[in-house]
């Protein structure tokens, strides 16, 4: 398969994730959609690593996975903290940080 197909699949997954981030109101699902976008970027990185025959893209993809794991840990910690403070779990309601 030509690598352009992998890149188009990557673009499609990224756009699905972006649409999900914009439409969903549950912060858990927003985090899941962020994961989708990061995975789409990973797919593009691995595809370019294959295109160049260079492992650097795969190493970068692994680093993206590390950062995504950190983001999930902190994000889910925030969701649990929001739940324990009995605030509504809704990104449209949590607007106290707005200027």
């Amino acid at each position: 398969m030509d690598l352009i197909w992998y890149l188009i699949v990557s673009a499609l997954i990224f756009c699905i994730g972006a649409g999900g981030v914009l439409t969903r109101r549950n912060p858990l699902v927003v985090l899941l959609c962020l994961e989708l976008m990061l995975n789409a970027a990973n797919l593009a990185l691995v595809a370019f690593a294959r295109a160049h025959g260079d492992m650097g893209g795969q190493i970068f993809a692994l680093m993206v996975m590390v950062v995504a794991a950190c983001e999930v840990a902190v994000g889910l910690g925030l969701v649990v903290a929001i739940y324990r403070r009995r605030l509504p779990i809704d990104v449209d309601e949590l607007r106290e940080l707005q200027g």
Binding site: D2, I4, I16, R24, L36, L43, G53, V66, C70
Partner: protein, 206 residues
Amino acid sequence: MAEFFFFLAAIGAVGGAAGTVMLRDAFYSVLALVTHLIFLAMLFLLLRAEFVAAAQVIVYAGAVMVLYVFVVGYVGGLEAGLAGRSGPALRVISVLFAAALFVELTIALVGTGLEAINTEGAGYRAPFGEPSEVGRLFLTDYLVAFEVASLLLLVAAVGAVILARRRSGLGDANEISVTDFLKRDELTKGQGETGEMIEAGGPRGI
């Protein structure tokens, strides 16, 4: 044969992504994302990234998704209104935005001057994508990134514990600052005091 597996994995990955976005129940969204991740690992295998594929399945589909499942189970059956999406106008605009982004990216990809993406990729030597090569690169060329990643994981773990810690009572339920938390040397106090479990009540009546 590679074409068959590519289309199988691509359809599975895109379907899993669509399910993640569209399913109403957060729990089913997590399960759809697990499906997506497994099919994505298949795509990684087709791109000769064996170690990335294995790490994807073990770290992502295994560990991270278990964390998600636990948090969804803890936060519980979200209220019907919350599981939904935004208002219709915003939804239409968002879908239009995502479609425009996809068209733009596709035009950029198809119209690019990069020669390599219209081939099956450059030639590669034997340890390409294997764990030995990944380990060698992490400990030689990318050593700084490797060490910074370990520090980042430590910071994230401490941050998650401080954010999600069990508070001892209703009195400090509004306190979320880390410095306040450290000043009150709660870390050394131990678990002796049983406070009111404010988390038992669930969210304020929504």
